[in-house]
Symmetry: C2
Subunit: 634 residues, 2 copies
């Protein structure tokens, strides 16, 4: 019978199973350790792929002030790369200090207290969501730059990529991250070659390409400080993700600290070279913002032309950006599980599902990112002002935490280390304030509201769990259980094999059983039916009294609940309500049964000290009945 039912339910269930795969054991998913080269695709894609939107963000801000301002791209990029250098050195120290993985939440909880750690957690939640949305939107932008015919379907493509990434994560990626190596290498090497071609042979390919905007060079005029700060803060979106390696130290092969630090340095070098190279080319070719084509796409087209290599690179960029979104799916569910274990999020978030992944966190991230993508219609530039604030808040908190850490532990040369992290904290802290001030009206207010909102949520939840912990007496040894005599109440509607089945089970629990039947007075011949059932009951004589409950209302649950309440007022007994359920063997047949069991169970849910129980009798004819309750024996 269970088989038949599963066959019926199987239509949706098996499609879902095919998507996410069969249940996994814990040992099936223990990941193998990674090397520095593998560390790039596994932990640094978010940072590396930000070259697809960081330079563009600068250029868009500057272009708003006129073509002359575009000349500032290079100096601003140099400032950003300097900040990158500080961050890389700082995070190499984080790796030293927290070889077990030092996310902003963990570092600030250890060193700065719960308040700061909640700020970090809220900022990280915002950051992970934005990373997913920005990466996917930028990936689709790369695609529509190469194939403009696709641009009307931007939002749909964003959501499809999001769905694919979500399902892959619900499967659990396991060792699949290793497969990211090839596209990552194509992306890094390809982009470095393109930059090199652009730098070495500028004349050969200098002629304007179709579809590329050349901004005429105009003498540089006075540009406001605010504009420069705005462009700088927009460009800092290119620095998101440099913290990921420090979070993931435990995933490296031994000596893992050394390997992780080497990966961090490698990431810093590659990212710095790419940013500087792209800035030089953008400056030399006067690349401006262009509707329907990204800055990166324009530079690529200028350097190598719109040939097969251009299209391969465009597709690769889309792919690695989707994979970069994927790394956030590695981050938020784990963070949510840590928060849930610390009682700041529903405990559900700490439960692994069949595939050993934290499914609620994955779903939450997918829904949040999906809503964002729909809200901004898949436009990266609308998201940029929201971005980086969360990331840089996290940077600031973990650097500050490190300063406290060095001051507390005082290892050799701790003053130098503390100074380095202090510099990082100061630089990123100032940057965060600049972001909030310069981009407040352009969308940063969303983050300024969201972060305290999440903190409020976390503290509300935490307070609740604390209270429940006290009420449940967790950590104490409770008193001995108390025992009372039991009475079983069985609702019946007719003298039948189902009644016999239920009464038998009830008598097994306790010799004190009462069957109850509800009769609606005057209505639809209910009284005559009741009399008939009472006669049959007397004839049957199962050794259990039948109590008829009269009601003038239509509800069946209500009189039974009232009866139980009155019974408990007069008897100090354990009350078990045993509800018989006839279970048909096909799903559609269940609609043919009145689900009084659900109604009654629900009505009893809020009654303490009443056990609401259900006994299922199958209706198929297979032999599932050890007590021989078959047609012919009754």
């Amino acid at each position: 019978m269970a088989d038949t039912e599963q066959r019926d339910r199987g239509v949706t269930a098996s499609v879902w199973r095919a998507l996410v795969g069969p249940p996994l054991r814990w040992r099936d998913v223990t990941t193998q350790r990674i090397t520095p080269v593998e560390g790039l695709p596994a932990l640094s894609l978010d940072a590396l792929t930000s070259v697809a939107y960081g330079p563009e963000a600068i250029i868009v801000v500057l272009a708003a002030a006129g073509a002359t301002a575009l000349h500032l791209v290079l100096p601003i990029t140099i400032a950003i790369v300097l900040l990158l250098a500080i961050l890389v050195f700082s995070y190499r120290q984080v790796i030293d200090a927290y070889p077990n993985g030092g996310g902003a939440y963990a570092v600030s909880r250890a060193n700065l207290g719960h308040g700061a750690s909640l700020v970090a957690a809220a900022a990280l939640v915002v950051d992970y969501t934005l990373t997913v949305a920005v990466s996917i939107a930028a990936g689709v932008a790369a695609l529509t730059s190469a194939f403009p015919v696709l641009s009307p379907d931007t939002v749909v493509m964003c959501l499809v990529i999001l769905a694919v990434v979500t399902v892959l994560n619900l499967r659990g990626l396991g060792d699949a991250a290793r497969a990211f190596l090839l596209p990552t290498m194509v992306f890094i090497i390809g982009l470095l070659i393109i930059i090199a071609i652009g730098l070495i042979h500028p004349l050969a390919l200098h002629a304007p390409q179709p579809g590329v905007s050349l901004v005429p060079r105009v003498p540089l005029e006075a540009v406001s400080v605010l504009l420069i700060l705005k462009a700088f803060s927009a460009g800092c979106s290119a620095l998101t993700g440099v913290e990921a390696i420090a979070n993931g130290v435990p995933q490296f092969k031994e000596p893992r600290v050394k390997r992780a630090k080497r990966t961090e340095a490698l990431l810093g070098s590659i990212l710095g070279v790419m940013l500087l190279g792209l800035a030089v080319l953008a400056d030399r070719w006067h690349v401006g913002p262009r509707s329907g084509q990204t800055v990166l796409s324009q530079i690529m087209a200028m350097a190598i032309g719109r040939n097969w290599a251009y299209y391969v690179m465009s597709l690769t960029i889309t792919l690695v950006l989707a994979l970069a979104a994927n790394t956030s799916f590695g981050g938020l569910p784990v963070l949510a599980s840590l928060l849930a274990k610390d009682h700041y999020l529903p405990h559900l978030f700490a439960l692994r599902d069949d595939r050993q992944v934290f499914a609620p966190g994955i779903w939450t991230l997918a829904v949040l990112a999906g809503v964002l993508l729909i809200a901004v219609r898949g436009n990266v530039l609308t998201l940029i002002p929201l971005f980086a604030i969360g990331v840089f808040t996290g940077f600031t908190l973990s650097q500050s935490g490190l300063v406290v850490h060095w001051w507390r532990t005082r290892p050799p040369r701790w003053e130098f280390r503390a100074a380095l992290n202090g510099l990082g904290a100061a630089a990123t802290g100032v940057a965060t304030v600049v972001f909030i001030l310069t981009k407040f009206t352009e969308g940063a207010w969303v983050v300024v509201i969201a972060v305290p909102g999440f903190i409020f949520l976390f503290t509300r939840i935490h307070r609740y769990y604390l209270r429940v912990g006290v009420e449940l007496g967790l950590g104490e040894i409770p008193g001995k259980p108390e025992v009372k005599p039991t009475v079983v109440i069985v609702p019946v509607v007719a003298v039948s094999r189902l009644a016999r089945y239920a009464i038998g089970h009830a008598l097994s629990i306790s010799p004190h059983v009462v069957a109850v039947m509800v009769v609606q007075e005057d209505a639809d011949g209910s009284a005559e039916r009741a009399q008939h059932v009472q006669q049959q009951w007397a004839q049957w004589d199962p050794g259990v009294p039948l109590k008829v409950l009269h009601t003038e209302y239509a509800s069946v649950a209500e009189p039974i609940v009232t009866f139980i309440d009155e019974f408990r007022e007069h008897h100090d007994k354990e009350v078990v309500v045993l509800i018989p359920v006839a279970l048909p063997d096909r799903l559609w047949e269940q609609v043919l049964h009145n689900h009084i069991d659900f109604i009654l169970t629900n009505a009893l849910r809020t009654r303490p000290d009443v056990i609401s129980a259900r006994i299922t009798m199958p209706l198929d004819g297979d032999d599932h009945h050890p007590d021989g309750d078959r047609p012919g024996t009754g």
Copy 2:
């Protein structure tokens, strides 16, 4: 605590309560008996209001063949009124024969057997749904004829009226039907006056009104028989509803047969006069179909002009058509409850809800009519070809049933009575065939598919209930219940007051209790936690063993179900699984609990002979604990 929760849940629940009202007792809803004059609004609105779409349906068909064909309106209407006369005489005999209410389903079940009764039932379901859709669409058409500015919102207005009628019926109308008297009288008298004005003073108002189309008189040419049949069958939609009085005989005051027959005659006379009068005026004024204005509205505007009386009549027509839709809501749920009692529909349809109405039938009708209205975008004329087939199938079956009835009972003058009903059966039978043939491609195929579809559904359901009846041994006296010793299995996650609470209740049921805890191996420190719980358990010593279930998978329910299955293989014991639930006092707090009770209950649902039970411990701090299980005592 229950109060707090109800307060939380109250937002939606109390809005709904305000809409449908508090629960009613059966005696609150016993309706008072009605007189012939009251019988018109209560039982005849469907028939009377069909003048709003019947004549129009004829004119639309004829106009398609050219303006000359419009001259046939009057002869076709005369034919329809003759059919009406036959039907009225036939149904007066039905009232004689079935003074307890003789719906087509009941009459054909008694005289023609189950097959015919199912055809009647299926036809009636189709008919009721179409009556609701046609009446509401015609009501909105009357409104948009008077106020053309409303016409873009036709579908929305249809759905709003449907929603209002549905909610009123979920409240249960009770004596409210009496309030229908005024609009019904305004409608009947007003329309008769308008017709009289049109007939008496044709010259005074003969000048064309703005917005009224006058078709120039052209000599009548040869018109095909098919066209005449089509127009006739379209016009027969005006005869729907004449059976309602015969169905509702029990609602009349004594002598109810006499009063019901008088009402039927009254209905026939008024309807006949109206149809003929409108046909004469349409013919005289050459009224043709006109987009945005109904034929009835055109005739009214011609007769009395577009003054206040015209607008009052238009609004009255909308109102009485909505009330006509309402009479179907009186019919289908009762029919569905009869079918459910005969095991042809889910038994749910035979259950009265809080307000003593058959809510599932009301919801079903509302959904079906809503889908129809959306599908045809609120256009009456699209629905007309589907209409009347179901009604006339019912007519034919009940007339035929009556012939059999007279032949069986042979009262005085039975030959005459049988001949009269035979004539009715023949006329309506021929009409039904004509409808199907002439309107098959225009939508009648929907009915031709739907009726057998419903019959298939009814028989499938009936076969299922028969099988279940046999399996449950309904009607037999079952054997004595069998009793076994009981073991109680309690899933726990920690040593806590909740565990103590559950173990106490378990020990009350049986001295044989096993606590089980699931440990996921290797994952997330689960093993250490388990060891900790085991130590605490030993320290607590509740007199119950703790069995640790190891699993490599993430599912918590699976190992418990496996344990139970294995246990039952080795022990012939009654197994009760008692799941402890901590119930928070606010609804939002419930998301903070892992609902393992639902997952486990669901997993156990298909296990026969296992009692799945739930014990709720409230988490508020009020004193709901007779066993003194409070903080400080544990």
